[in-house]
Symmetry: C2
Subunit: 176 residues, 2 copies
């Protein structure tokens, strides 16, 4: 898909395609459509990030709360979004043995209890060995810095999802 195509989309099509760039937050894609035309992937991505950064703290925490636990309830019940299913699968989280899964669930629960939002990590940049290690490490961070870290992971996930959609065809277009 190239940017000429993206810039020609009506809002229905845009939200259909980009609605899950931020997990379960089609509102953000639907808002970003107002900023078209986009000169390239980086420009498009920056509009998503600017929207996230401008939200009040409750809204930023809200974004995090729309994310599923890694190897959690949605994975067990088959109710992950297609993107999240693929990402957790690539990180090896769909084939954990029972001990590793229970250990992760325990850490996830402690994290949620401490911060009021789930542990968010760009799973595709990680693997089944590093996920619990990183979770255990972040569990001890301060709430303010942890919120920033988690939103940084949301942005990494968004970047990877946008690259999947736009890939090599996202070359810059000249805007008038």
């Amino acid at each position: 898909m190239d940017m000429v195509k993206v810039n020609s989309m009506d809002f229905d099509e845009f939200v259909d395609v980009f609605g899950n760039i931020v997990e379960k937050c089609p509102l953000i894609a639907a808002a970003v459509w107002s900023q078209r035309p986009f000169s390239g992937l980086e420009d498009l991505e920056n509009h998503f990030f600017t929207f996230i950064d401008a939200l009040p703290r409750s809204g930023q925490e809200g974004i995090l709360r729309c994310h599923p636990d890694l190897a959690g309830r949605d994975l067990q019940q088959g109710t992950l979004t297609a993107e999240s299913q693929r990402e957790q699968s690539q990180a090896g989280l769909t084939s954990l043995d029972t001990n590793d899964r229970l250990r992760l669930q325990q850490l996830n629960a402690q994290y949620r209890e401490r911060f009021g939002f789930p542990f968010v990590l760009a799973a595709r940049l990680s693997d089944r060995a590093t996920v619990p290690r990183e979770l255990a490490r972040r569990l001890h961070c301060q709430p303010e810095s942890e919120l920033r870290t988690a939103l940084g992971e949301v942005k990494k996930i968004s970047h990877l999802r946008l690259t999947d959609l736009l890939g090599a065809h996202s070359a810059r277009v000249e805007l008038p």
Copy 2:
């Protein structure tokens, strides 16, 4: 459901229950959870409305763009949310004859073209005769006032959905 129950919910449960108070915008419910405890339905509702009012214009338009057309594609394809299906059904929009349906689709298309978001109306407060009349009327409004009107309809829809969930049990609770 009473407010003591609501105030005891963790964020997963809260988003499960209230995630579609604003159509396809669980982010808003997930943000509102930060403001608990709530003293009653009106307090809870005001947190939803405050969040909406604080969004930049693109975000407010984004909320509208997450709404389906009345008697539109999602209704035809059976992909409406449960709440929207019930509301459109109660307004008689699920049993329009072909002429009325095509007329509404034409008006919806004109409206989207003019404003950049779909026509949003609290369908339960309307019926199959008044919907196209109101759509034809609002088509001629100014964009600024139409955005405000449409967000007012989002709030009416939210109020009705909250009342469905909390109903007579939403009596005020004393907060510490």
